[in-house]
């Protein structure tokens, strides 16, 4: 058994470094940006005259549809359609591009809900105090709202990130040989799926532990100004 662990772990780790981590990190970064934009558009209250207002409502509708679509359908199917389905209508991506696009959009949809909830948890007096200083919308957001929303959103966002790390295993279905598939290929030969799965689980655990530590560091920072009270 030790022999198997010793000989197979390096290639699993290597697949993780080559595919799992970059896909997860890049997609999460892009996904967060998408999520923030989506959340803000969905929270916004349309203003302005007839046409502007109409376009605004349409925008809100489109973003709501996007969130609904990507939350409501399985990620595997999304990957499949982007990679195998879109070529039918003439849009062809390579596996990496298809993967990053799909994972980003998927993460963006889920994370936008989290961010939306976090922002609306802040009392409106915080917006008011900031506006009363003459800050622009984006100054209010970046200086006052996001830093406070982060505190609430960190645990669920970290859930999303950690979930994404493990969802990257679905990339094997669009021909990316990520670490889960590698471990299955090895298991098919040594007939030790439980052992191979445990190894790959351990590798995931290392990645995710790093993320969890990061989460707790960020939480500590975000919480420095207030502590919740239990008894």
């Amino acid at each position: 058994m030790w022999e198997i662990i010793r000989s197979t772990t390096p290639e699993i780790v290597w697949a993780g470094i080559k595919y799992t981590i970059p896909i997860a990190v890049i997609s999460f970064a892009i996904g967060l940006v998408i999520a923030a934009i989506t959340a803000l558009i969905r929270i916004s209250k349309p203003r302005g005259n007839g046409l502007v207002k109409g376009i605004w409502y349409l925008g809100k509708l489109i973003f709501s549809f996007y969130v609904w679509l990507f939350r409501s359908t399985p990620l595997l199917v999304q990957l499949f359609i982007v990679f195998f389905g879109l070529p039918n209508i003439g849009i062809q991506f390579n596996a990496w591009t298809a993967g990053i696009i799909t994972f980003s959009l998927n993460t963006g949809a889920y994370a936008s809900e989290t961010i939306r909830g976090a922002i609306s948890s802040l009392p409106s007096s915080q917006w008011e105090a900031a506006y009363s200083l003459g800050m622009t919308y984006s100054q209010v957001l970046f200086l006052i709202i996001f830093p406070q929303a982060l505190r609430v959103a960190l645990p669920p966002l970290s859930n999303s990130f950690i979930g994404l790390v493990k969802d990257t295993s679905l990339a094997s279905s669009i021909t990316i040989l990520e670490m889960f598939m590698v471990s299955q290929q090895i298991a098919s030969h040594n007939y030790q799926p439980l052992l191979m799965y445990s190894i790959v689980a351990a590798v995931y655990a290392v990645f995710c532990t790093i993320l969890t530590i990061l989460q707790h560091l960020l939480e500590k920072r975000a919480n420095r100004y207030e502590v919740a009270e239990g008894e």
């Binding site: 203003r47 302005g48 005259n49 007096s125 915080q126 008011e128 105090a129 900031a130 506006y131 009363s132 200083l133 003459g134 800050m135 622009t136 919308y137 100054q139 200086l143 006052i144 830093p147 406070q148 505190r151 975000a222 420095r224 100004y225 207030e226």
Partner: protein, 244 residues
């Protein structure tokens, strides 16, 4: 000058500002008086554009808006930057230190240099006796301390008009006097001030003009002298009632 003309604000449940027309003269101190729930905070918030009245016109200095039209972002910002507000419930930013609560506006809105802004903030903090709290967070201050910080935050913006919503309500008399003296100094210098307060003594001594609001309507607007020395029956009642 700030001038409101026929301003109307209707909540679903309540008519908060009922066709208000009033002027706040430049370089003077106007005190807004009135019972609880009269619409005093709503009036200040409308001037700061935190509340959007459904009808009426407002002029602040060289800018005029009509509330029945949609205001552009540019207009809103321009108007807001002419005033600074001290809130009734302080509304400090809990995630920023006291110092940054004060410097955030000057640095990002007025584009002041960071050192300049911090020096100015420290001066203000010293004036209210809280220089040693500069690096604490709002949750670590007492109520009265938080209120003084929120005054500093507004003063740091050097606004055309300063709006105070009960600036001394959580202060002990010693400090109240101190803060009122700060306001008095401001009043004497080139500042234009609008204050909602319950401190009659302050109103009597500092107000150039007094506006009395009741049930969303202006019941009186005139000089301090008229208000205190030649009150109408309603005002006389109000002045009587406040004598505990």
């Amino acid at each position: 000058m700030i001038k409101l003309t026929n301003v109307d604000k209707q909540y679903k449940e309540h008519h908060a500002l009922d066709n208000i027309t009033v002027e706040f003269p430049e370089q003077e101190t106007t005190v807004i008086l009135g019972p609880s729930g009269a619409g005093k905070s709503t009036l200040l918030r409308a001037i700061n554009l935190l509340e959007r009245p459904q009808k009426g016109m407002m002029t602040i200095g060289d800018l005029t808006v009509d509330f029945s039209n949609n205001l552009s972002n540019h207009e809103i910002l321009a108007l807001r930057r002419k005033t600074a507000m001290v809130f009734q419930s302080w509304n400090l930013f809990p995630h920023l230190t006291i110092l940054r609560n004060i410097t955030e506006g000057p640095i990002h809105v007025l584009k002041q240099n960071k050192t300049v802004a911090e020096n100015h903030a420290m001066e203000l903090l010293e004036q209210v006796g809280l220089a040693d709290t500069a690096n604490r967070y709002p949750s670590q201050l007492s109520g009265g301390q938080q209120q003084r910080i929120s005054i500093c935050r507004a003063l740091a913006m050097n606004p055309y008009y300063i709006l105070f919503d009960e600036p001394t309500s959580a202060l002990d008399p010693e400090l109240e006097a101190q803060v009122l003296r700060v306001l008095q100094d401001l009043a004497k210098s080139q500042h234009s001030i609008i204050v909602v307060t319950h401190n009659m003594e302050f109103a009597r001594r500092v107000a150039d003009k007094i506006v009395f609001v009741e049930e969303g309507r202006i019941e009186f607007a005139g000089t301090s002298d008229e208000f205190f020395n030649r009150p109408t029956e309603r005002i006389a009642n109000f002045l009587d009632a406040m004598k505990f």
